[in-house]
């Protein structure tokens, strides 16, 4: 049963275009849900609307069987009555209160007896491993410690939903990794529904059980991280998720018309598609190199290419390729033997192509056709 339901949510700020446009979202109980998108896509607004800090222009928000907002029926539950937790990007710790008092605050408001309060505070502080800092003021803490206090403050009141607004974006790379693990641990232990907002697709992929990709206030795709990655619903999702981004050619591309028509033609014939293909994408790690066209497995798409630059990162190799008249990126886990200016053949399997129609929507007909044919032919090992 879905825990949080957003129905037909619109949000329009004074005299501006829609920040959120007709959003439907169902978040299951216990989910670790991520709202992913570029800045200004409406994800933070959505989060703030769930918290009640922002009011929708139209629509309804429910948690479990309680209506929190319903513009049409005139129902509004103020944020202080929603029993949620919200961790801000800036942490928003209260500078005039110690760590303990910061964490204590919500419990005091709930009028919980002081013994119980102390126990609860102690428990959360030690869960987040900051029990030694309880008498310090926020200004005396490092960024990572502040982050933990902000989390502890919201966990203390045992919220039915925990909302996180870009919680890791102010931390350095190492701390971010540590806090990611921390968040996962908390979710595993607490089993609360967590909704968090990020523009970092890696964060979304590693943490979430469910990802909602948004752009321009419109929900683009909702699915598990692997679904989002493997079967992006449209061009926006395909290009936004993945790093380096997906190699993408459109039929009317002016930058690489030859390689575009080659890939589009290949996809149309392999998928036996009746509708015209608009664009084709292939992820960098799905591209392969061979020294000669003869080494390419039968049936795979291939084209002559020239190596322009090889960029080793230590764990993998990124290659910039000139494929016919277009520029592609390739990522390989194995060492690349070629050097700059080598003439090679670049190829990929039919099942690794992402095919979109002229309105940039995924053509599932292609996926079905390829799956069917690979069952017939057998996997091309």
């Amino acid at each position: 049963m879905p825990h949080i339901t957003l129905t037909a949510i619109d949000k329009i700020y004074d005299g501006e275009q829609k920040a959120v446009d007709n959003l439907f979202l169902a978040i299951p109980d216990g989910a670790f849900m991520c709202l992913l998108g570029p800045s200004g896509c409406g994800k933070t607004t959505t989060l703030r609307m769930i918290a009640g800090l922002e009011q929708p222009t139209a629509g309804e928000i429910r948690v479990a069987d309680r209506t929190l907002d319903s513009v049409e029926q005139g129902v509004f539950v103020p944020p202080e009555k929603r029993q949620m937790g919200l961790v801000f990007q800036s942490y928003a710790l209260w500078p005039h209160l110690t760590v303990q008092k910061n964490v204590d605050f919500g419990l005091r408001i709930k009028k919980i007896p002081s013994r119980e309060r102390a126990e609860r505070t102690e428990e959360v502080l030690s869960l987040l491993r900051i029990d030694k800092l309880k008498d310090r003021f926020p200004a005396q803490l490092s960024g990572g410690q502040q982050q933990r206090v902000a989390l502890a403050r919201m966990l203390a009141v045992n919220p039915s939903v925990l909302l996180l607004d870009e919680p890791l974006s102010n931390l350095d790379a190492r701390l971010r990794l540590e806090m990611r693990a921390e968040l996962k641990r908390i979710h595993d232990r607490w089993r609360t529904t967590i909704v968090f907002v990020t523009h970092d697709q890696l964060e979304a992929m590693t943490l979430a059980t469910l990802v909602a990709v948004m752009n321009d206030g419109v929900l683009q795709q909702l699915g598990s991280p692997m679904e989002i990655y493997d079967r992006p619903a449209n061009r926006f999702v395909a290009e936004f998720v993945g790093n380096p981004p997906m190699n993408y050619v459109a039929r009317d591309d002016t930058s690489g018309p030859k390689v575009a028509s080659s890939l589009v033609g290949y996809a149309a014939s392999v998928g036996e598609l009746a509708d015209p293909v608009g664009a084709v994408g292939v992820r960098p790690e799905a591209l392969r190199l061979s020294s000669a066209p003869t080494a390419v497995p039968p049936g795979a798409w291939h084209a002559p290419a020239r190596v322009e630059a090889v960029l080793p990162t230590g764990a993998s190799w990124t290659v910039q390729l000139r494929v016919l008249d277009g520029t592609f990126y390739l990522v390989s886990a194995d060492p690349i033997e070629h050097g700059a200016d080598d003439e090679v053949t670049c190829w990929t399997r039919a099942s690794d192509l992402h095919v979109f129609d002229e309105s940039d929507t995924r053509m599932t007909a292609y996926d079905d056709a390829v799956t069917a044919s690979s069952i017939q032919v057998g996997s091309d090992a």
């Binding site: 800090l53 049409e72 209260w94 408001i109």
Partner: protein, 603 residues
């Protein structure tokens, strides 16, 4: 897709009401906006309408019914036989004073700023505080000191020091344009010192170094790099002084009256005293329009320059010009400025209060009667200031009015900041921001005239406020509102809305958020927001001179009244008391809040 949610009747309205019930911010904002519209925009509209409506008693001259639309006052002010006295001469004088004072302040303040910020002048740090002192004194302190020294036989009462020593002082030196310029210049040069000095200090010395590396000579660097970069702060200082002088009253009144030297502010004051309300309204409108023009030009210039002004600020290394053999002369110059702007005025004022006949340095001539005497040979003020009731009642009034106004300023400022930040992005937010800035455009004395026009009689449910403490408090609060709300907005901006929202999500209602989170965090800003208006309010004269009556005498108006009566020594004593209070308050404020003098630029 799931079905659309069911639509109830009036759901949307009900929803907004439900939100408003739990979130009073918007309501507070709307209330503030209404109050400000009434207290800021309505007086200006009222004075504008006064300028074009026939007043009772003038129907004989105009041949129109009272209340009818008329161009009579425009004609009277701009084209009639008396318009030269009413308007053109004061207008010209104002320009002379403004230009003269600005130049004076620019030369003195600019030189001092350069010496302090960019050279190895001995005692730079001390001077950077000492040279600002003259701005902390009431602006007409210098006028009184000037009179005390240069007053000649033209005026009644005791003569000045020089006359007492047997020197004939010509009128041009004693009264009118020249002394006004010097007195105002001595008061306003710290303005340039602070603004220009700040800009000099913040300038990235790498910019100069780059020019030097490219082979530029000092002179070229100064002309082509430093000066253009400093121009915005200089123009800003100049225009602000210009705007201030437009509304300043005390100095031109004290030094101009004996020779009938009128500026716009004093002419406006006279018109109101003579109950020529229509004429006064026209003059007030002119003052307002000129004030607005000056500020608009300033903001336009600043906007033009903003393109490059923000560049730099990093690597502002301490690079100072070595003065070498000019070091001592420079020190002498700085000491001279300090002496002229602080020691002489205060010393002269003090001396005059302890001498029977000013300027005669014999032991028998010294007396404490002006402070504690009980048998002064005057009818209206027979007792010394410290033993007469007037001082204490005026002091008590000042404390009450200024204190209440200052508390209102502090609270209102933060409240405006709160609403502006909480509702940021909405029309309410930007409207509130703009209205609260409006009084900045209106010179103080014109604002007082506008208040007189609106609140002299009962209007609807609002009783006639003229002669009450309420109107003094209101005019002080509104006059200070631009500074207060700007400070409040920046304090709230710095805090952001998130700490409060965190409390909200944790379950705290509005009142608890205000008392437990917002107010404790903003304690420092609140204290500063009260103390600064308090200091400037103690010295405020232009806005209150027209609104205070004998029942609502303040320290500042008392001192000017004493001048009117010709009791210079008593007036001097009162001004010294005001200055002492302002000093103490400033000192305490600095100790308490660590705020710098530069932030006290208001008032």
């Amino acid at each position: 897709m799931p079905p659309e949610p069911p639509r109830g009747r009036f759901g949307r309205t009900k929803y907004h009401l439900a939100v408003a019930r739990h979130e009073p911010t918007k309501l507070i904002g709307v209330l503030l906006a209404i109050v400000f519209l009434y207290l800021i925009v309505a007086p200006i509209l009222s004075v504008a309408s006064d300028a074009f409506r026939v007043h009772f008693g003038d129907h004989v001259h105009t041949g129109q019914e009272p209340g009818a639309w008329t161009g009579y006052y425009l004609w009277r002010v701009f084209r009639s036989d008396v318009s030269s006295i009413l308007f053109w001469q004061p207008f010209l004088n104002t320009i002379v004073i403004a230009v003269g004072t600005t130049l004076f302040a620019l030369v003195v303040g600019g030189a001092m700023a350069w010496l302090i910020a960019r050279t190895d002048l001995p005692g730079r740090k001390w001077f950077s505080t000492a040279l600002v002192v003259s701005y902390m004194m009431p602006s007409w302190t210098f006028a009184l000191a000037w009179l005390t020294i240069f007053k000649n036989r033209r005026m009644g009462g005791r003569q000045g020091f020089l006359e007492a020593m047997g020197v004939q002082v010509p009128d041009w030196l004693a009264y009118g344009a020249f002394p006004t310029i010097v007195a105002l210049g001595l008061h306003y040069y710290p303005f340039v010192l602070l603004l220009f000095g700040n800009a000099l200090r913040r300038m990235d010395s790498q910019l100069e170094d780059s020019a030097r590396v490219l082979g530029a000579r000092r002179r070229t660097i100064a002309q082509r790099i430093v000066l253009p970069l400093m121009l915005p702060s200089l123009t800003s200082a100049v225009l602000l002084i210009f705007a201030k002088i437009l509304g300043t009253f005390g100095t031109p009144y004290i030094l101009g009256l004996p020779v009938d030297f009128q500026v716009m502010s004093t002419s406006l004051f006279q018109s109101i005293r003579n109950r020529q309300n229509g004429v006064a309204a026209v003059i007030a409108l002119v003052v307002i329009v000129v004030g607005i023009l000056v500020i608009l030009v300033d903001s336009k210039i600043l906007k033009e320059y903003r393109r490059f002004v923000t560049v730099g600020s990093k690597g502002s290394m301490d690079r100072r010009t070595k003065l070498r053999r000019w070091r001592m002369p420079a020190l002498g110059l700085a000491m001279t400025v300090f002496t002229a702007s602080v020691i002489i005025p205060i010393g002269v004022l003090f001396l005059s209060t302890i001498q029977r006949i000013p300027g005669r340095f014999e032991l028998s001539n010294f007396t404490l009667r002006y402070w504690i005497g009980t048998d002064l040979d005057s009818v209206a003020f027979p007792r010394g200031v410290l033993v007469s009731g007037e001082l204490y009642s005026a002091m008590w009034n000042s404390f009450r009015v200024v204190g209440l106004a200052a508390v209102c300023c502090g609270v209102l400022g933060l409240l405006v900041g709160y609403v502006v930040v909480r509702t940021s992005g909405t029309r309410l937010s930007s409207m509130l921001r703009q209205i609260s800035f409006l009084p900045y455009l209106v010179p103080g004395i014109a604002f007082a005239a506008a208040y007189l026009s609106l609140f002299a009689v009962q209007r609807g449910p609002v009783p006639a406020l003229y002669g009450t403490f309420t109107i003094l408090v209101i005019v002080m609060v509104i006059g200070n509102l631009p500074y207060s709300s700007r400070a409040g907005i920046s304090a709230m901006m710095q805090l952001g809305r998130e700490p409060e929202e965190a409390a909200q999500v944790s379950g705290a209602g509005w009142w608890r958020r205000m008392t437990r989170i917002v107010t404790p965090i903003q304690k420092g800003a609140l204290v500063t927001g009260i103390i600064l208006p308090f200091i400037s309010g103690l010295k405020e004269l232009s806005t209150v001179i027209m609104l205070a009556t004998s029942n609502t005498e303040l320290l500042t108006t008392l001192s000017v009244n004493l001048v009117d009566f010709g009791y210079l020594q008593l007036a001097n004593a009162v001004v010294l008391i005001i200055a002492a209070m302002a000093f103490v308050a400033t000192y305490l404020a600095q100790r308490l809040t660590g705020s710098s003098l530069a932030s006290g630029l208001q008032g």
